[in-house]
């Protein structure tokens, strides 16, 4: 590709450092797996249904993996983790 403007196109004077626009929480892609995690968690808790609570743990792991920016998702993930914690205890005692 012949650069028609032969002169060096670079203009160091015009360089502006990167200002990352703060993306608000609203236009983040919705974290479905976080939502499913909590939904399964509560269902598993209520109905003592083991599979549900295991699904909740998997969904929570997925939402943890897909966490984009920390401060927005941290609240959700911490919530999901506490729900898992209840369920683990609950799962254990509903076995015996």
């Amino acid at each position: 590709m012949s650069h028609s403007g032969g002169a060096d196109p670079r203009m160091p004077s015009a360089s502006k450092p990167y200002a990352s626009s703060p993306i608000s929480a609203t236009d983040l892609p919705a974290d479905y797996s976080g939502f499913f995690a909590i939904a399964f968690g509560i269902v598993g808790l209520m109905l003592r249904y083991k599979l549900c609570s295991w699904l909740a743990i998997i969904c929570c792991a997925q939402s943890l993996a897909n966490m984009r920016n920390v401060e927005n998702d941290l609240k959700q993930v911490v919530m999901a983790m506490t729900v898992q914690f209840w369920m683990c205890i609950d799962c254990l005692d509903c076995k015996f």
Binding site: A14, S21, I58, Q62, A65, N66
Partner: protein, 443 residues
């Protein structure tokens, strides 16, 4: 049946002795239960016993040899109706019968066989999820670094075109900004005609096993989007977009400024044009033909060249009416080849600086400008009218609210206050209708 009813109390001590002490609350409902069902049960069992032994009954029929109670003395109960067996049976029917509890306690070892399949499957899935997380993350990083090393390091195309590379400001700035495991951003600035360029790489989320499985069903490619923020004075009324036919229809409907200003252009007869797979949208035919130059046609978008080099092309969108923070922007969207043959997209990436220069120097001809000017004026009018309506509605709403408040205040006023108000109102009306009489003082 009377015969049967007293006896059970006698039998009560029998066999159930220990059960009664162990759970006292059982005791209250225990005997009552026994009293009610046996009369009916014994008759039915009595007849059936002569027939073949009931296979279903959990306990062997009380034949002398097979009875489950050690101290069973058949002489003592000769001639009596076979009472105990149904009794031991009927307690087993109701759920909380004591003998059953005694049976369970002696064998705690064999837990009801709970399948541990659920646990095994889920734990193995979680382990593979974690392993896949790390391998997927590394894979994504390799692709991003391969792209960067091919286009953004020393004496590569971006290095020749931009003085500042990377998102930091100093020298040792990291080239790529990582947002999550599959989004990488590259920023470059310091070039004529434009303020800066932001390349966003959206890769498949290989780090997440679930979406990897999902991607088997719904394939999605790795994409890179270049957004070039042009200087205001360097970009004229250029509105141009190009994509494959199917995608072009979607873009034409969705993107607001294309929808309002641009139309789908037919292939001109008099000159070479892009390959027929592509559709071009532009505000004016002249702008489109100026932007599709000979060089671009032979290198990338001509018939032959497109098959070879155009595979990774997704879309162009140059516009000075971009919705969003920055009005004048050029947007290039390409799909990324895999990590080791990143060089395939060299020509596509070379289009970026080429078009920055082309659009930066492009000046519309006078009649093209008049048309675009008219279109933009009309659009500005519409927007102004919309704003006007919105303001009007707001005023109306405020007036309505104020009136409502007034009415509420009046309703709250007590009756006589209301009367006074009406008198004042009447007096005012009267005065208004009276002929104007001026009093002049006598000189």
């Amino acid at each position: 049946s009377a015969l049967a009813s007293p006896d059970p109390t006698h039998f009560e001590g029998f066999g159930e002795e220990d059960a009664l002490e162990s759970d006292s609350e059982e005791f209250e409902d225990g005997p009552i239960e026994i009293l009610i069902p046996p009369p009916t049960v014994t008759q039915s069992n009595f007849e059936t016993h002569h027939g073949p032994p009931e296979p279903s009954s959990p306990e062997p029929k009380p034949k002398p040899s097979s009875s489950s109670f050690e101290y069973w003395d058949e002489d003592e109960f000769e001639g009596l109706p076979i009472d105990p067996s149904p009794r031991t049976e009927n307690p087993t029917e109701n759920s909380s019968s004591p003998p059953e509890i005694t049976q369970q306690s002696p064998s705690p070892k064999t837990l009801p066989s709970r399948s541990f399949h659920v646990e095994i499957i889920c734990v193995s899935f979680l382990i593979s999820f974690i392993i896949n997380y790390f391998t997927g993350k590394r894979e994504n990083e390799n692709i991003a670094l391969a792209w960067a090393s091919c286009f953004a390091t020393k004496d590569t195309i971006f290095d020749k075109n931009f003085s500042l590379l990377g998102t930091g400001d100093g020298k040792d700035t990291p080239l790529l900004l990582k947002e999550g495991q599959n989004i990488f951003k590259f920023y470059a600035s310091g070039r004529r005609y434009c303020q800066g360029l932001l390349a966003t790489m959206e890769l498949q989320s290989r780090h997440d096993l679930l979406s990897r499985i999902y991607n088997f069903v719904v394939p999605c490619k790795d994409e890179i989007t270049f957004e070039v923020y042009m200087n205001d004075e360097n970009m004229d009324h250029v509105l141009f977009a190009m994509a494959r036919k199917k995608l072009a229809k979607v873009i034409h409907k969705e993107v607001r400024d294309l929808q309002r200003y641009a139309g789908l252009l037919s292939v001109p007869m008099n000159r070479k044009w892009v390959s027929e797979e592509l559709a071009v949208m532009s505000e004016s035919r002249e702008v489109a033909s100026d932007l599709i130059t000979e060089a671009v046609l032979d290198q990338v978008f001509g018939e032959k060249a497109f098959e070879k080099f155009g595979k990774g092309f997704i879309s162009f969108h140059f516009s000075d009416q971009h919705a969003g923070s920055h009005r004048k922007m050029l947007v290039f969207k390409f799909s990324l080849p895999n990590a080791n043959n990143m060089a395939d997209m060299t020509r596509l990436v070379a289009l970026v600086p080429y078009y920055i220069d082309l659009v930066g120097r492009y000046k519309l001809s006078s009649q093209a400008r008049s048309k675009t000017e008219a279109a933009r004026a009309k659009a500005a009018q519409e927007i102004y009218k919309e704003l006007q309506n919105v303001r009007q509605e707001a005023i109306q709403r405020k007036k309505a609210e104020r009136r409502k408040l007034m009415e509420e205040a009046e309703a709250k006023l007590s009756a006589e206050a209301l009367r006074k108000k009406e008198e004042k109102e009447r007096a005012r009306q009267l005065k208004k209708t009276m002929p104007k009489v001026k009093m002049t003082r006598a000189h």
